[in-house]
Symmetry: C2
Subunit: 311 residues, 2 copies
């Protein structure tokens, strides 16, 4: 094997933002804080905890400041917030001491960007550049995310060169981590392998993060393909919460507990306690009062002790 | 990439045996025939259609002979039946003209074999040898399956050498295809890659088939890892029907439509019409009257035309 598989990876838990945002009911602030702290105990070093979006647009996240102020996490945890625009950044910087990194974003698809945030890609890139300067000036770690990196339901295939060109511009803005989002679950493992092979060549020294959806059941396969291409940074959501459901009704993000189960079984160190990740997902299931769709919630970790008594 | 990825694969649809067997309610013979014929229209060249088990043990499959006699399939379809013992083989050979290949099996785990068919592994291998001769004498294609190839809930890890040793003995018996079953979903893609790498070296000229379960969500990943190691033959079940639910309540087989979606998106030819595979799975969902768990049933194929009008 010419695999460039790393021996360890870092997984950012995005459920408290990407997951909670997509819940039909607004989750109580105290419940959010409790669930985030459960994630902290499971060993995550990166958690996306809030987004500074307009509360009238996304009421599910309107308590971001209370969540940031309320959570008690180990000092090893880097708290990430998503910044959609300069107004959001104003609000975020007002509570700057409560988080560690900020993420700006654009969609590689012109149409998706317009529909998502009502801006042309070049307008967004100009806004992002201005925000990047302010984020770095505040002493924060700067992340950037490129949505629809692997395809767009409105535009179809997005040229690799367009995606990596945007990534290079984010790197020039000072982003030390760039995430590639498979926003509507259109990636396949052959393309992912080629994609990350090219991305690592063009973006040396930048941490590249893979964010896949499980829309057609192959989210973990895409994560594996990225891993084999050398990717060491992943995003996922506990309980398989959230993600953009396109087509309507389909699943979104890959489940953190399934990703951790796979990596740990492979001998790739995640630094996480799988039992505690599953416990956090089960706690979310109980809090939300509906059956979540991850596999490990039901199956639990692989039992290699051979102690099952009967079928 | 040093990938040994083939440009095309063959997928055996096992739902009509492995899936229907695990349904709580016995499916009407006419419904089975209709669903199998839908699969035939989707382009499958291999379908597992029946098992000659005792009707008092598995009433779900007691109409095997009627199904075999009733189905009308294109001549390109090889109809496979599972043979558990010599009595089952007697019954199968009585209707020999209605099928094309027969599969014998053993579990690599002594404990699993005992619990599954109440025989020691060596007793089973002796029985299988006698049955292999009769199957070949009848002019049928001989397949062999090794269950728990990637781990056993009773015994834990199963040494690779033990599994491949059994495979070599099946090849000596005249099996031209040997399937490796991840009966309780314990495989991981790193092990699968190593496993098939070693298997292809030790079993030249034998067709090796991968049969994975989606117990912890990584069934498709294991299929991809096998593909990258050169595997060209797979088994899966439409609608994600069936498979051994260990731990109880967990999912079993990987979904054919999700596997086809992944391979076709990668540019690996399955010879199947994905729309018709999904249609067959939706028909099964309708016949069974419950929501099935495959992703593609809900999401449909990837739409690269970019024609989605809105979220």
């Amino acid at each position: 094997m010419s695999s460039r598989r790393p021996s360890s990876v870092v997984i950012r838990e995005v459920g408290p933002r990407d997951g909670f945002q997509n819940e039909p009911e607004v989750i109580a602030t105290a419940d959010k804080i409790r669930l985030i702290e459960s994630l902290g105990r499971a060993g995550f070093t990166r958690i996306e905890v809030a987004s500074f979006v307009r509360p009238d647009v996304i009421p599910q996240l309107s308590d971001g400041v209370e969540v940031l102020k309320g959570i008690h996490l180990p000092s090893t945890v880097s708290r990430m917030v998503l910044i959609p625009n300069s107004r959001g950044l104003d609000n975020a910087l007002a509570v700057r001491e409560y988080f560690d990194e900020a993420s700006i974003f654009v969609s590689a698809s012109e149409t998706h960007n317009l529909k998502n945030i009502n801006r042309a890609v070049e307008q967004t890139m100009a806004d992002d550049k201005a925000m990047a300067t302010r984020i770095l000036d505040a002493g924060l770690k700067l992340d950037a995310v490129i949505a629809t990196s692997f395809g767009c339901p409105y535009e179809g295939k997005i040229p690799l060169d367009r995606v990596l060109g945007l990534a290079e511009r984010f790197a020039e803005m000072g982003a030390t981590e760039i995430g590639f989002g498979d926003t509507t679950g259109m990636a396949n493992p052959a393309y992912v392998s080629d994609f990350f092979g090219a991305a690592f060549e063009r973006l040396p020294g930048v941490e590249l993060t893979a964010h896949f959806h499980n829309t057609r059941g192959q989210g973990l396969t895409n994560a594996y393909a990225a891993l084999e291409a050398g990717c060491e940074s992943f995003e996922s959501s506990f309980g398989e919460l959230g993600g953009c459901p396109v087509p309507a009704g389909s699943t979104g993000n890959i489940a953190t507990e399934d990703l951790v189960s796979m990596f740990e079984e492979m001998g790739v160190d995640t630094g996480l306690d799988l039992d505690l990740v599953i416990a956090a997902a089960r706690e979310a299931q109980s809090t939300l009062g509906r059956k979540l769709t991850s596999h490990s919630i039901l199956a639990g970790p692989v039992d290699w002790t051979g102690t099952l008594v009967d079928h």
